[in-house]
């Protein structure tokens, strides 16, 4: 089981009372070799009763593998300890913000069928900047920027798989500036830019889809 650091998840465990009398119990869900207590639940089980008990757990801040344990007491006396068969792997939490700013705008245009029709615009290249900010975990991000134009439903690649790999310290931003061309004058075009930010393992941690007028 894999969760990101700081995320909140619900663990559900079925407890059963094998005895002929009912008891009050208190169970602690612990994680890590130090048996750090993550959540506590108090419940009552009648004789022979089964009950699903939920534990709301905020995952540890430090990435790593965490064994999961339970301690159960009744009347203040420890009556059982249990180990889950599967560890939890806590992965880093990358918080990023992505902004997209187009430098050049169409001078005139109108919406046609949900698509911006640029009726007067520059014929030279357009310029845009993408700002990516690490708001979470230090590490190396792979930033992938892909841009696509759609013309009459047929996607044509303006540029694709532009990629930068950068190390972002927490709070640090990287600004990428690029230019793109408008291929056909006067046609209704839908410009879409896909910006992906990947962690060191290649897992996408942020993905933004911009639909912009030309």
């Amino acid at each position: 089981m894999e969760f990101t650091s700081g995320s909140v998840h619900k663990g559900t465990v079925t407890f059963s009372n094998p005895r002929t009398a009912g008891f009050d119990y208190k169970a602690s869900l612990c994680m890590g070799a130090a048996w750090t207590e993550m959540a506590i639940a108090s419940f009552h089980l009648n004789a022979g009763q089964l009950k699903d008990v939920e534990f709301s757990v905020t995952m540890p801040a430090t990435p790593g593998a965490y064994p999961v344990y339970f301690k159960v007491t009744s009347g203040g006396v420890l009556i059982g300890t249990f180990a889950a068969t599967e560890d939890i792997t806590v992965t880093p939490l990358y918080k990023v913000s992505v902004s997209f700013v187009r430098v050049w705008e169409c001078e005139e245009g109108r919406m046609v069928g949900g698509v911006w029709l640029c009726t007067k615009y520059f014929h030279d290249s357009r310029e845009a900047t993408v700002t990516i900010t690490n708001k979470g975990y230090p590490g190396s991000f792979t930033t992938t920027l892909e841009g696509w134009f759609y013309l009459s439903g047929e996607p044509g690649s303006l540029f694709a798989n532009l990629s930068w790999t950068s190390t972002f310290e927490e709070g640090q931003s990287q600004i990428y500036t690029f230019k793109y061309m408008v291929p056909i004058t006067g046609m209704p075009l839908d410009s879409r830019f896909f910006i992906k930010v990947k962690d060191p393992d290649g897992k996408i941690i942020a993905e933004v889809d911009y639909i912009l007028p030309l």
Binding site: K10, T14, S16, P18, T20, Y25, V68, S74, A84
Partner: protein, 135 residues
């Protein structure tokens, strides 16, 4: 431990109980235990007796019993007799019971003793757990 007895009902002089020994007076529910009573025949002739050890809230209410045990005690002699009792199965965490020892001869109750100390029957809490599921 040794339990002291006193007469609950019946007539003295037919048989004596020199001692009644059992384990710790706190027992787990539904578990078997053995108490040993040592009887003494004060008479000048041997007699056959039937004795029954039982746990109950009141005289004659047999919540758990050894069942009748028949034995012979020689004239003036003593006889240890074991009584095996399965503790009551409790539906509550604990309960207390009087200990009675009833002695018969030829089918007639001679005397019933009661221990001066009750036994306590408990259910030790336990729990089972299945694998955790995460959401």
């Amino acid at each position: 431990m040794k339990l002291d007895l006193e007469k609950a009902k019946g007539e003295d002089g037919h048989i004596l109980v020199k001692s009644l020994e059992m384990e710790d007076p706190t027992f787990e529910s539904a578990t078997p235990h053995v108490a040993t009573a040592t009887f003494q025949n004060p008479k000048t002739a041997p007699f056959d007796f039937t004795a029954e050890l039982y746990l109950g809230k009141t005289l004659g209410t047999k919540t758990a019993t050894s069942g009748p045990k028949t034995f012979t005690v020689a004239a003036g002699g003593t006889k240890p007799v074991d009584f095996s009792v399965n503790m009551p199965t409790l539906a509550i965490p604990s309960d207390a019971y009087h200990v009675y020892l009833e002695v018969k001869q030829a089918g007639v109750v001679l005397i019933t003793f009661v221990a001066t100390e009750d036994v306590t029957v408990i259910v030790t809490p336990a729990i089972n757990v299945t694998q955790i599921t995460w959401a």
